[in-house]
Amino acid sequence: MRRAGRAWVLVLATALSFVAAPHLHAEALGGTSASALSEWFDVAPEARAYVAVRERVLTTAQAVLATGVPLGPLFERLKEGVSKRIPPERLAAALEEEAVRLGVLVQLLMPRKLSDGARASLLSEGSILLRAGTSSSALAASLDVAGPGEEGARRAFAAESTLLGLRVRHGLDAALSQELALALVRSSMRRERFSSLQGLFAQWRARGQSSERIARAMIDIFESGVALAGLERELERRLR
């Protein structure tokens, strides 16, 4: 399994290095360089227990940098794993998997002009979504219909994050969930209010409606251009 993970990183590194935009090859993307990571292994007291996987982690980091992926999110995951005292072998394998996810996300975000900070934060957010079970094709579809730039990407990720919660909690099937995610991205609702759907969904589930019926009603309502104030009113009319 571990070998397969390493092979994936190398294949990904090779493949992506051909397509990654040249401006993404700067070593310091994401605020962390490979040398900073190496130095952290040398000086951080908590890193001593991880000396055995140091080279493996650095190889992963080099591969990640070679594909133009900022090192910041990976470094954060490393420090998080160390603080949680994850066994070294398991942590190294998890970082290799994270490298694959970050590679996928870099591809998805590549068409967008993003600042380094925004890119690093979106990569962290996207990685959490992928780890939690959102498919890369669902993320790609949401990004396709979202507006341009950072706001469009954040809108797509926020919609997928909201729908991930609805899938887990209310058993919404993946296809309908994606339909609702796309309707939400296209809607006139502000991104900060997407999470209100959690409460609205809970409300109508508690009032005896099936998840599918609520989701279908929400899709229809969003497609008619309604935002939160109208959504609550329209659900009351259609589902009561």
């Binding site: 959690q198 409460g199 009032r207 005896g208 109208g230």
Partner: protein, 300 residues
């Protein structure tokens, strides 16, 4: 055979109407519930309920037929129930929606029975942070304590962070079965809170002024609060309470509390099955306190 013929005619008529909505495909949903429990009035009871809706949604218009029914039989030999059917047509453009509805039905309670009829219009304007609606209506209840009511409601919803602020004003002119009439004006303010969790809280209060035809004025304070939540992926719960108190001495005209915890037992592509456990209380002497449980099947 005759019933089957009627169903076919209704189906064909609906399909024809749906076709006028731009080739919309009708969508059907239904729920069936059966169970029983114990009531303070009447003792043990058995209960069955069903509802269904058939919708055809076009690009800018929609047609919806819905119906619901409920019947209960208590250990003291009293049967109660209600049934209603509703048809509504809506059309809109941009943020504006206009809707017309007609409904009819009947009921039998422990003390009364009658037929119900109603018609209404609803005009809604939806914006990105606010929504406003005007809903004139007429309702008729043929029961011994029935009425004919002409009324209307003007309401708005304004989004403010995680809150929706909802001011409204309702005006109703009612002619009671005994021939007396009254005018009720109820301005109120409510709010809904959606904190980004599987939780919703709604509450509101208002002032109700009823002026009877003989000049007597009654002032009341209506209020309500609701709590909805989900725990894990299988448990949904709700608690709804409402009251209306006299402003003169704060005595209660009416009060109800209803709570339910529903456990989802299973889901499939056709729908889901749940086990609802409910408790309710009403100040109404013919209802009182009751506990109930059942099985609810929801079909998509």
């Amino acid at each position: 055979m005759i019933m089957r013929g009627k169903k076919i005619i209704v189906g064909v008529a609906f399909a024809a109407l749906a076709a006028t909505l731009g080739g919309a495909v009708p969508r059907f949903s239904a729920a069936i519930e059966a169970g029983g429990g114990y009531g303070e009035i009447g003792g043990g009871f058995g209960r069955a309920a069903a509802s269904s809706a058939l919708e055809a949604l076009g690009a800018d218009s929609a047609l919806r037929l819905s119906g619901s029914g409920e019947a209960a039989y208590a250990a003291d030999g009293v049967a109660t129930g209600m049934g209603s059917a509703r048809i509504e047509f809506s059309a809109g453009s941009g943020g504006f929606v206009a809707l017309a509805s007609l409904e009819g039905g009947g009921y039998r309670s422990r003390t009364d029975a009658g037929a119900l009829a109603g018609a209404g219009l609803l005009f809604t304007v939806n914006g990105s942070s606010a929504s406003i609606e005007l809903a004139p209506r007429v309702r008729y209840d043929s029961g011994a304590s029935g009425y004919l009511e002409w009324g209307g409601r003007l309401a708005a919803s304004v989004a403010a962070g995680e809150l929706l602020i909802k001011p409204s004003c309702d005006i109703a002119w009612e002619i009671a079965a005994d021939g007396s009439s009254s005018l009720a004006i109820t301005p109120s303010i409510g709010s809904s809170w959606y904190p980004g969790l599987p939780l919703a809280v709604t509450m509101g209060a208002g002032y109700k002024r009823i002026t009877a035809s003989d000049g007597i004025v009654t002032e009341a304070l209506p209020a309500f609060a609701s709590f909805y939540g989900a725990v894990g992926s299988r448990i949904a719960m709700r608690l709804e309470a409402s009251l209306e108190a006299s402003l003169a001495d704060f005595s209660l005209f009416s009060a109800t509390v209803e709570g339910e915890v529903a456990l989802t037992l299973g889901r499939c592509s056709l729908g889901e099955i749940a086990l609802p456990l409910g408790v309710s209380w009403s100040l109404d002497a013919t209802t009182g306190f009751s506990l109930g449980a059942g099985l609810r099947l929801s079909l998509n």
